[in-house]
């Protein structure tokens, strides 16, 4: 790949990330508003559409403050440490049969590896702010995200076993066609348990209500981010929304056939739209959860993860491995 090609791809990723950020923030406000019988933004521009753009301008032009007692070096790089992995995680996404930033045999692993770097930045931001609320937020984020990483990865193993590959393109390709003539071959159907675990863990991974103790508006006032202002805060905010997009996109690829329409063959030009539509549906469900559930306590959250989610997903991996191994034998015996 030429240097220009690489730059072009990076530019496309950046544009996608920024557009996602702006659209998702607007969508979040509208969806939460409607779920709570409100209207949401409605003053700036038609239907309040320009609200987010105005917010971006506000963040860009704000003074860049740093507390005197903050650890300057860590404080300055933490937002980028949060932002860069979530930017890089666009690399393994497959938008269509030929449309992806690059094809990686271990793309899925890369995506999970990158998203698991985020807690590091969060912890760094919390520590370097030198404020107890930030520190509490950072510690909670680290504890929570590291804990939820485990079920997240385990739940991805089911579809990976079914597709026999860690390459997202091949996982998606394995979901084409139908079972028994009418059920789309989406992995969500046999892997429903894994999907539920994935949905819960990804909600926690992106620090959204009901698992947003690291931000905890009511007690910590955005926790780890509360000493940040201006565009540094903007980066963290943007990363949060781009992470939401990424977990939803990965979920779409793992469980809902990626860019493929059910039953009919998907033309190449339609594929990215199908993929984005599915991803946004996933995001809508995440926002729906966000607007419906109150925040858990930290201890409830951790014990739920270690005592329920991890055992369940571990057991599922074992069960599914056995099923997958034994199925051909059983099928053969039956057909004989």
């Amino acid at each position: 790949m030429s240097a220009l090609g690489i730059l072009g791809r990076f530019a496309a990723m950046l544009v996608l990330l920024l557009v996602n950020g702006v659209v998702l923030i607007y969508m979040l406000r509208k969806v939460l508003g409607r779920l709570h019988l409100r209207i949401g933004p409605n003053r700036v521009g038609p239907f309040g559409l320009l609200q987010t753009t105005n917010d971006v301008i506000k963040l860009l032009t704000k003074e860049d403050l740093r507390p005197d007692s903050a650890d300057a070096w860590l404080f300055n790089i933490a937002p980028y440490l949060i932002f860069v992995p979530s930017f890089m995680a666009y690399i393994p996404l497959v938008f269509g049969p030929t449309l992806a930033v690059t094809n990686l045999d271990t793309g899925l692993l890369l995506a999970f590896a990158l998203t698991s770097l985020v807690p590091l930045g969060v912890l760094m931001a919390g520590w370097s702010s030198n404020s107890k609320w930030s520190l509490i937020g950072g510690m909670r984020a680290a504890g929570l995200q590291i804990a939820y990483e485990v079920p997240l990865l385990l739940s991805a193993l089911g579809p990976v076993m079914m597709a026999g590959s860690l390459d997202p393109a091949r996982i998606v390709a394995a979901q084409s066609g139908v079972w028994l003539g009418f059920i789309p071959r989406w992995f969500v159907i046999p892997q429903i348990l894994a999907f539920v675990v994935y949905a819960i863990a990804s909600q926690a991974e992106t620090q959204q209500t009901p698992f947003d103790m690291s931000e905890a508006e009511s007690e910590l006032i955005t926790g780890f981010a509360n000493e940040y202002g201006g565009m540094r805060f903007g980066f963290m905010y943007l990363a949060e929304f781009s992470n939401t997009f990424i977990v939803s996109a990965i979920g779409t690829m793992l469980f809902f056939g990626g860019w493929q329409l059910p039953w009919v063959a998907t033309p190449a030009w339609l594929a990215p739209f199908v993929f984005i539509a599915k991803t946004y549906t996933g995001i809508f469900v995440m926002m729906w959860a966000r607007g419906s559930l109150p925040r858990f306590r930290v201890d409830q959250m951790l014990s739920f993860c270690w005592k329920v989610l991890i055992p369940v997903s571990l057991a599922w991996v074992v069960v599914w491995a056995c099923v997958q191994r034994l199925w051909p034998v059983v099928a053969m015996a039956v057909s004989r």
């Binding site: 409607r34 709570h36 019988l37 409100r38 209207i39 729906w288 959860a289 607007g291 419906s292 559930l293």
Partner: protein
């Protein structure tokens, strides 16, 4: 069942979504106030447009916040004249005790609720200025008019 509460929560918010917003877009749309809503105190006038206040000062004494004040002078024949009826709307708690206490039905709790002002001075209002107080007998429907 464990988790049914969560599902119920989801159902409620989804129902809300389809119900649509209940927001009233305030400056453009306004709700009609219930009849007995209590907002700023306002004087009442009789059929000929004269204030019904007799300057008996009962309301002034009744107000728990001491926000009403009447400046009254007497002419030689003993008739009362209201120089100023001052009302500090900014400190009024809209309790309505003054209206209840007034024996002549001369003030009311109006429905004027947009009370924000740009000038602190506007929070002190002069309800009546330089008018003759209604005589007690006339106000009671007497025959001296």
């Amino acid at each position: 069942m464990w988790g049914s509460g969560i599902l119920k929560g989801f159902a409620i918010t989804m129902r809300n979504m389809f119900r649509g917003p209940i927001t009233v877009m305030y400056p453009e749309q306004k709700l009609t106030l219930p009849e007995r809503a209590r907002w700023a105190v306002a004087p009442r006038y009789d059929a000929e447009g004269r204030p019904k206040c007799t300057a008996c000062l009962i309301c002034v004494n009744e107000c728990p916040d001491h926000v009403l004040n009447l400046e009254v002078s007497k002419s030689e024949d003993g008739a009362k004249h209201i120089d100023r009826y001052v009302y500090e709307v900014g400190a009024c708690m809209m309790c309505g005790l003054c209206v209840e206490a007034c024996p002549f039905d001369a003030i009311e709790m109006s429905h004027e609720y947009e009370l924000a002002t740009r000038d602190h001075g506007d929070l002190v209002r002069v309800l009546l200025r330089d008018v003759d107080a209604a005589s007690t007998r006339r106000a009671k429907g007497g025959d001296d008019a």
